[in-house]
């Protein structure tokens, strides 16, 4: 079965991961700009990162027949210094011209601070001005529910259409609010801190597959670039129909991402 992993940080993964993902049926991925595990010391550090996302990774993915796309922003973990964040944001207009850029992301909140919110609002205004799709990171663990609600309120203060915004890393205590407000919702399959393949399958059973997708968010931490095919196996093991599985892991990503004419699902 072919699938799309709509959130994975390939800059942190090996070429062997591309190979294994291709073997498992992955035809396309999207890679949001994120925190590298350390704070970059200058805007030039981001300039090089954006080059990696728009030049290096698409070429690396192409070796395995995977279409690579990305999202650009200053992630919330590096938004606590607004002056620095604004300097980095000034690089965005140039890179938005690159052909694999789908929109702004992953923006959002991390510790639900005032500075994080100020930079989030500036990104939202930027996306609104340029009619960009938006991919949202929601905070971790105890901060998630509060942050998710604050982020949705901030988006509601803009003219951005909810069906052009995906709110990622939903769990059982946030998914209903996100879907009820008309946003797309992403479930991130992490071994410990977010959703397991089993819980993602449970959420699909309870909430259906409308505007819901799943991703591995594979990165430099404890994560699994094959998490989506593992969730496919979990759904199949329970006896869910190929249509249900296909909708959650292929058709939904195609529908949301296809709102950008730059999105290419590959052989899917």
């Amino acid at each position: 079965m072919t699938y799309i992993d709509p959130h994975i940080h390939m800059v942190s993964r090996t070429t062997d991961d591309y190979r294994r993902m291709a073997l498992a049926g992955c035809t396309a991925i999207t890679e949001p700009a994120f925190w590298a595990g350390f704070d970059r010391s200058s805007p030039q550090g981001f300039f090089d990162y954006y080059r990696q996302l728009t030049e290096t990774e698409p070429a690396r993915a192409a070796l395995y027949g995977i279409k690579h796309h990305c999202w650009l922003c200053v992630n919330p973990k590096e938004a606590e210094d607004p002056g620095f964040a604004r300097e980095v944001m000034s690089l965005l207009p140039k890179f938005l011209e690159e052909p694999n850029v789908l929109g702004i992301g992953e923006i959002g909140l991390n510790k639900n601070s005032k500075n994080e919110m100020a930079i989030l609002e500036e990104h939202l205004a930027f996306a609104e001005d340029r009619n960009q799709l938006v991919l949202v990171h929601t905070p971790h663990l105890e901060d998630k529910r509060k942050g998710t609600l604050l982020i949705m309120d901030a988006i509601a203060n803009t003219k951005l259409q909810p069906d052009r915004v995906l709110i990622d890393h939903v769990e059982e205590h946030t998914v209903a609010d996100v879907l009820d407000r008309g946003f797309w919702a992403g479930m991130t399959l992490y071994p410990e801190t977010k959703c397991t393949p089993q819980r993602a399958a449970d959420i699909i059973e309870i909430f259906g597959t409308e505007r819901l997708w799943m991703n591995s968010a594979g990165d430099w931490g404890d994560s699994d670039p094959l998490a989506v095919p593992k969730a496919i196996v979990e759904l199949r093991r329970r006896g869910h129909s190929p249509e249900t599985i296909r909708k959650a892991t292929l058709e939904n990503p195609k529908t949301f991402l296809g709102q950008s004419p730059r999105f290419d699902a590959g052989d899917a």
Binding site: K111, E142, R145, G208
Partner: protein, 105 residues
């Protein structure tokens, strides 16, 4: 309880057959973890670590037959305040609100 949109095609017995041993093992992990905490050197005789208290509260949710346990455990371990904080206190999260967060509960 939310309406179930894509019912699990498995019977209740099938579900238990498929997952019981895995979750029996996870239950033992929690039991052994709490024993490990008990055995560890106290250091100071202060109050119980807030994370362990949160875990004890969550364990009660598992046994109260009110359903939607995953959602309710996550809510129990969520910051219930609504105001933005002045400055981000670092980048990480610890899994349940620390005592400095007034959770109203």
């Amino acid at each position: 309880m939310a309406e179930t949109r894509n019912p699990n095609p498995m019977s209740r017995t099938d579900v238990v057959d498929a997952y019981f041993l895995e979750h029996r093992a996870k239950l033992l992990d929690i039991a052994a973890f709490l024993d490990r905490v008990d055995r560890a050197d106290h250091g100071t005789d202060g109050p119980e670590d807030f994370r362990i208290t949160a875990m004890r509260n969550a364990l009660q949710v598992l046994d109260d037959d009110q359903g939607e346990r995953a959602r309710r455990v996550l809510e129990l371990m969520s910051d219930e305040t609504t105001d933005l904080v002045d400055t981000a206190p670092g980048k990480g999260a610890c899994g349940t609100p620390p005592p400095s967060t007034d959770n109203g509960a």
